[in-house]
């Protein structure tokens, strides 16, 4: 995950790029000619302390290497934003950004 987060007053514009193939289950592996089973990011959350401030829930209609842009409010310098995604297989990635 790559995250760009800029604090402006109490607002944070977050831009995020997650690395994930987001397999729909409808494409074929060019080598084996078999369908690649569906596996995509289900949820992507952002917590500050233990408070959930963002949750995105996804299906196969989200592009490969998901991009998100949104604005958090009520934030201050020193806050630690904890981003986490979970996919269908249960794989996860966590990344923290300190404002």
């Amino acid at each position: 995950m790559k995250i760009k987060a800029k604090l402006n007053g109490d607002k944070v514009q977050v831009k995020l790029l997650a690395k994930h193939p987001m397999h729909t289950g409808r494409t074929k592996d060019p080598v084996t000619n078999e369908l690649i089973p569906a596996n995509f990011i289900k949820t992507l959350t952002c917590h500050v302390d233990n408070n959930k401030v963002f949750q995105g829930n996804f299906g196969t209609g989200v592009s490969k290497d998901p991009f998100l842009k949104f604005t958090l409010i009520n934030r201050k310098a020193g806050d630690i934003l904890k981003f986490e995604w979970v996919d269908l297989k249960g794989a996860t990635e966590v990344k923290e950004v300190t404002l």
Partner: protein, 146 residues
Amino acid sequence: MIRRNFLKNISAGALILLTPFSLMAGWIEGAFTTTDMKEALNLVGASDLEESDLITLKTPEIAENGAIVPVTVSTDLPNVTSISLFVEKNPTPLTSQFDITKDMLPSISLRIRMGATSQVMAVVISDGKAYKTTKEVKVTIGGCGG
């Protein structure tokens, strides 16, 4: 003992039915796997939809490439708890659903996949009611050199 548990289960069930959608947030498997748009709408709590001009849905008129279509949804509706994005002609119409917390603005940009020219619908749940706006996005199949 069995009777007590039975009553407990009944009241728990009733509680779930009475709980506003916002507290039931999370990844709703059925909504993301159904091929039926109406069913997907129901599952995200948007069975009763009203058109709203307070939702801004920014999409390209003609997508450069259906694999990566940049979209932005924002709204001036009050007390938003959910934003969802549907592509009517996609195999599974619900692309994404966002639980909007009090710690964020009701606005989201993302990139979606579109298999063909289709209506794209943004659904916003505000004060427990569901509102929508729709835009058509054209998807071309590569022309010469495409």
